[in-house]
């Protein structure tokens, strides 16, 4: 693998972004085509990734700063899929908004390329640059809406994101200062050789890294922006933030801690940090979600709680031998994919419904079953999956992560997780109850455009199909994690 082949998937995506800008500038009357160019670019990107897989070509590139392994490939597919779904879900909204259509899709694609780079980076500088490449377009996208709430969301996200980035950079600087290298394998070697004497410095660096990535992962106490930004940002962008940047942050933090900071004297500490943050995030997210009346805010808090569940997988990584390591990390990947299907489905249904209602209030969802059976059914399935009830993919995600926790002797954390699932059932299912049993204010049907329906069907089908036949997804996650080099 050499030359352009190394960055082929990203080149396809970025090429699509450039083409979109050109078409937008040169043929303004052809604007309808823009989202389809984006979809084609994403398909080309996925094809390119597939060609690697079929050639069975994996390996390091660019002096080891990029690691093109099955782990990266798993995320390339995931991000291409997420971005395509977000593009489909955006079409109506962007049409209605009217302005800057080319820029919107170009920014979405640019974000996607940044997310892909993140999942393959094995070098602190590359990680930082990729993170900024994915973040800066998202700051703009969050403030894309015409209303003030959206602008406020964009600005808040930008300023707090800058704080988080600076913390991250500080942590990276400490690591570099200690090891004299920015490459994860070399950092790992340096820590193995002389890390024990410098434990306090390494812990401080770990905490700063957790804070920096934790902002994107939306874990307590770095989650405060979440409800405001989810509520204020355009709904398709909120969907993108909730699954895309969260997944990328988990992808990169798993790789950094696994490949760079794995020695036992250190991993015992960060594993405990993850475990405690997991417990707090799940509890805070769920308790806060209960009292929300705005469905986007509710999903914001719920995404904090879900991030806490992901962290159980991270906490389970360090606990023991290779077996637990793969179990915890592959649990994170499986749950990320499950969560992507589920949350995208939920957000798309909400986009369709709120376009019609002009409201995000949960009480306005009453009796939606009679106004739009298909949308309601799809949203209901996604809510069941978010709760973690079989036969949905969300169930297996939770089950797998809990299993990893149990085998890592974190039974106390799993018990907290199970109790939190019960609590989360309360607010997820009370939305479902409103929709199925409540009395609608009007009988006027609520429809959705073909693009939205397509995206919704794809997401919901993923939730159900992988809910009944989970093994392919699990095998993919396990294969991906097996290629990580334990530092």
């Amino acid at each position: 693998m050499d030359g352009i082949d190394i960055v082929g998937p990203q080149v396809a995506v970025l090429g699509g972004a450039g083409l979109i800008l050109l078409v937008d500038a040169l043929f303004p009357q052809q604007r309808k085509l823009l989202p389809y160019i984006a979809l084609v670019a994403l398909a080309a990107s996925a094809l390119w990734t597939t060609s690697w897989v079929s050639r069975d070509e994996y390996g390091a590139a660019f002096d080891g700063t990029l690691m093109l392994d099955k782990y990266a490939v798993f995320f390339y597919y995931l991000f291409a899929g997420i971005t395509a779904t977000v593009v489909l879900a955006s079409i109506d909204w962007v049409d209605r908004e009217g302005r800057g259509q080319g820029e919107y899709y170009a920014l979405v694609l640019t974000t996607c390329s940044g997310l892909m780079f993140l999942s393959a980076s094995r070098d602190l500088i590359t990680i930082f640059v990729s993170l900024e490449l994915s973040s800066i377009p998202q700051y703009i996208l969050a403030g894309w809406g015409k209303d003030q709430r959206s602008s406020e969301a964009g600005l808040k996200y930008l300023l707090l994101g800058a704080v988080a980035s600076s913390l991250l950079l500080y942590g990276m600087a400490l690591l570099y200062g200690f090891s004299g290298s920015t490459l994860l394998p070399e950092i790992a070697t340096a820590i193995r050789d002389g890390g024990e004497a410098n434990r306090s410095l390494l812990i401080l660096a770990s905490v700063l890294l957790i804070a920096g990535f934790g902002f994107k992962m939306a874990i307590v106490p770095f989650q405060m922006w979440v409800p405001d930004v989810y509520q204020g940002a355009p709904t398709p962008v909120a969907a993108f933030l909730s699954v895309g940047s969260k997944a990328a942050a988990f992808a990169v933090i798993t790789r950094v801690f696994m490949e760079g900071l794995a020695p036992k004297f250190l991993s015992d500490d960060w594993s405990m940090i993850f475990a405690v943050i997991a417990a707090v995030s799940m509890t805070v997210g769920n308790v806060m979600a209960i009292v929300q009346t705005d469905i986007k805010r509710m999903l914001g808090y719920s995404s904090v709680a879900q991030a806490g569940t992901f962290l159980i997988g991270l906490a389970a990584i360090s606990a023991g031998g290779a077996d637990e390591f793969t179990l915890g990390a592959s649990g994170v990947l499986l749950f990320l994919a499950a969560y992507a299907f589920t949350n995208l489905g939920a957000f798309i249904a909400i986009i369709a419904i709120s376009q019609k209602l002009g409201s995000d209030q949960i009480k306005d969802y009453a009796g939606m079953w009679r106004r739009s059976p298909l949308l309601t059914l799809a949203l209901g399935i996604c809510l069941v999956s978010l709760t973690g009830i079989p036969p949905t993919v969300g169930f297996w995600g939770k089950m797998y992560i809990f299993n990893a926790g149990i085998h890592a002797d974190l039974a106390w954390l799993v018990v907290i997780g199970v109790l939190n699932s019960v609590v989360s059932g309360y607010y997820y299912l009370s939305v479902a109850r409103q929709m199925f049993l409540g009395d609608p204010e009007s009988e006027e049907p609520v429809g959705a455009s073909p693009a939205l329906m397509l995206a919704l069907t794809a997401a919901t089908a993923g939730v159900l199909v992988f809910g009944v036949i989970p093994m392919p997804l699990i095998d993919a996650a396990r294969d991906a994690v097996a290629t990580l080099a334990i530092g």
């Binding site: 406020e152 300023l159 500490d269 009292v291 085998h407």
Partner: protein, 655 residues
């Protein structure tokens, strides 16, 4: 001799795997079709449900006879569904003596109830929905008894809870029904937490969910004793919720707000039996932990006595049956705790038939009088002869009168209790007396004396689908009386299946024992002393009811006055509902919750309001507002978070 055969001959029942799955799927397919296409077509929905359950019933009998031929040996088909490291979750079915008996009970009663419902629910606006729920419920029950691992069992267990919630709250516009559904759901959920804990425990300790493997694990002696006890108690907690054991029994009487056929199906024959089934399924675990078995036995005994005494003073026909069910379930648990595995399931088997008969009989009475209040009935013997005679048969069977079904199964329980612990036997003996008394009290009040006119039809009530004239009671239509007549047959004869030395010997016991890894021989299953004393006490109960409620030599009022404090306790159901509702729910939960909400208002909502204020200022274009408003708080939050985490790490693990 048959015992020896069961131990040496390991040939599994000759049943194809597809058939076991088909038993599970046929009501499920009916459910899917009704939900998708026939919700609004009552004519088709009802017959579709009958067809789906009927098919399952026929196949269940085929499976049952095959299992009988194999002496109850175990047939298991397992497919891997999900693996995560050392844990494997399977999708599998298991057929053995216990499963076969449960299959027959569930599908037979379900089929008859569906036929009966065709008449009882006719004209109800939710007719299609009703049959959909019934099919879902039957599927869940069948999945519960067919599952070969605890994990699948738990999923179906929860589905049973969900579908019964839907059925109890079927008339959800009736506040009492909605409240009853919620109560049933929440109370059984408390028990389910125990089952969940048990599941987590085997997950962490044994790394398997397979039922046979868990039985082996518990009996092997490798886990510490307290682990086995905890596991067994978790299982029992789940069972106590579903099977309405003290102190979680409070939901069952309220659940009578659902349609009467639902009460017959779920609250007499199937769902409440699920708990007994669960304990029986894990019987080897209870054998390995005598502490747990003792708990089961005594909770069962307490339940039996408490419920029977409450039943004495009920005026609602259906609630007498409800408390009687709770009491009989306590009997079964008592038997299980006294290691009377066969006796318990045998009683479950006979009880399913006669109790379903009694419930359907009460529905028939209601169909004619528009009430369940026994004070408004009387003299129905002449108007409803079929209902009357079948009801008497059911009551005699329940009271344990020779030679009806209940006699034989109750006798075995008394015998097992006698052998295990005399205290348990005394409890069971007292309950036998109370049972006969309250059943015949109900019969004399309802069917004898003069008719008191029933409940007039309220023509303004749109929800009422009552068509007859309560002033002139009449016998119910044949779709309702036919199931009564059919159920009367097993209510008389089901007990003859397990008479040792009888015409077909004790093959029923052999069938059930085939499901166990080890069988402990109990010796002769009949003793004249036990049989005669229990018959005598049952007859005494009937006689006392005759004296008070038929001859009226002593009035019930005078008895009440003499034993006032006791009656008050009974009438108030031992004040348990008050304790739960006034103390736990109102005082502890609601106050606590309100306090939490107050705090939330103070700190969280006000915070959000402040945030809204910030936004308003932002609208006026003052960037400064953002800098001085929440942004700073959020930024400080992040920085403080870092500091707290670092300090916490070093505090917990100093250098």
């Amino acid at each position: 001799m048959p015992f020896l055969l069961a131990e040496t001959v390991t040939a599994a029942p000759d049943v194809e795997e597809w058939m076991l799955w088909a038993i599970l799927l046929s009501p499920l397919i009916a459910w899917g079709l009704i939900v998708l296409y026939f919700r609004k077509l009552p004519a088709i929905a009802g017959y579709l449900a009958i067809a789906g359950v009927g098919a399952a019933c026929v196949m269940s009998f085929v499976a049952f006879f095959a299992t009988v031929d194999a002496d109850g040996a175990i047939l298991q088909h397992t497919h891997e569904w999900f693996t995560a490291g050392p844990l494997t979750v399977n999708l599998g079915v298991r057929l053995d003596g216990l499963t076969a008996v449960m299959l027959v009970v569930v599908t037979t009663v379900s089929l008859l109830v569906q036929v009966y419902s065709n008449g009882y629910m006719a004209g109800d606006p939710g007719y299609g929905r009703y049959f959909a729920h019934m099919c879902l419920f039957t599927t869940s029950m069948l999945g519960l008894v067919l599952a070969d691992n605890l994990f699948m069992l738990f999923i179906f267990w929860e589905l049973v809870g969900l579908s019964s919630y839907l059925l109890i709250g079927f008339w959800f516009h009736k506040p009492s029904a909605a409240a009853a559904a919620k109560k049933a759901f929440i109370v059984t959920r408390i028990g389910d937490l125990g089952l969940l804990a048990a599941l987590l425990l085997v997950w962490t300790r044994a790394d398997t969910f397979d039922i046979a493997a868990i039985q082996e694990w518990a009996a092997s002696g490798s886990p510490e004793g307290y682990i086995v006890t905890l596991f067994a108690l978790g299982i029992f907690a789940g069972a106590a919720g579903k099977s309405a054991q003290f102190p979680l029994h409070v939901w069952l009487p309220d659940a009578m707000e659902g349609p009467t056929p639902v009460s017959a199906l779920i609250h007499a024959a199937t769902m409440v039996a699920a708990g007994v089934y669960l304990v029986a399924r894990f019987f080897p675990v209870f054998e390995a932990s005598h502490d747990a078995a003792q708990t089961v036995a005594w909770i069962g005994a307490i339940t039996a006595i408490v419920a029977a005494t409450i039943a004495l003073v009920q005026t609602d026909f259906k609630r007498v049956l409800a408390y009687s069910t709770v009491s009989q379930l306590g009997y079964m648990m008592l038997a299980l705790g006294a290691f009377g595995y066969v006796a318990a399931i045998f009683h479950l088997f006979t009880h399913a038939f006669f109790k379903a008969l009694l419930f359907l009989g009460s529905g028939s009475v209601n169909h004619s009088t528009n009430t369940f209040d026994m004070r408004k009935m009387g003299g129905l013997r002449k108007h409803m002869p079929i209902t009357f005679w079948t009801f008497v048969i059911g009551s005699l069977s329940l009271s344990g009168i020779f030679p009806l079904a209940g006699f034989w199964s109750k006798d075995e329980i008394l015998l097992d209790a006698w052998r295990e612990n005399r205290g348990l036997w005394v409890c069971a003996f007292v309950v036998a007396f109370l049972t006969a008394f309250y059943m015949f009290r109900a019969i004399f009040l309802t069917f004898f004396g003069t008719y008191k006119g029933g409940e007039p039809v309220d023509h303004h009530d749109e929800d009422s689908h009552f068509h007859g004239d309560p002033a002139h009671p009449h016998e119910s239509p044949w779709v309702m009386t036919a199931p009564l007549l059919i159920l009367a047959v097993p209510a008389i004869a089901a007990g003859w299946l397990n008479i040792s030395g009888g015409p077909i010997d004790s093959w029923f016991a052999d069938l059930l024992n085939g499901a166990l890894p080890h069988v402990h021989e109990h010796g002769s299953a009949f003793e004249w002393g036990i049989a005669l004393s229990s018959s005598a006490v049952a007859l005494a109960g009937i006689g006392l009811a005759w004296v008070i409620y038929y001859k009226r030599w002593v009035t019930s009022k005078s008895i009440r006055d003499v034993a006032l404090p006791v009656s008050v306790v009974f009438e108030n159901k031992y004040f348990l509902d008050r304790l739960y509702e006034d103390f736990f729910v109102r005082t502890v939960l609601q106050r606590g919750w309100n306090r939490l909400l107050e705090l939330n208002d103070k700190y969280v909502v006000d915070g959000a309001v402040n945030g809204a204020g910030t936004s308003a200022r932002w609208v006026s274009g003052q960037l400064r507002a953002i800098q001085n408003g929440q942004m700073q708080t959020y930024g400080i939050g992040i920085a403080a978070g870092v500091v707290i985490v670092v300090v916490a790490v070093f505090a917990a693990n100093p250098l």
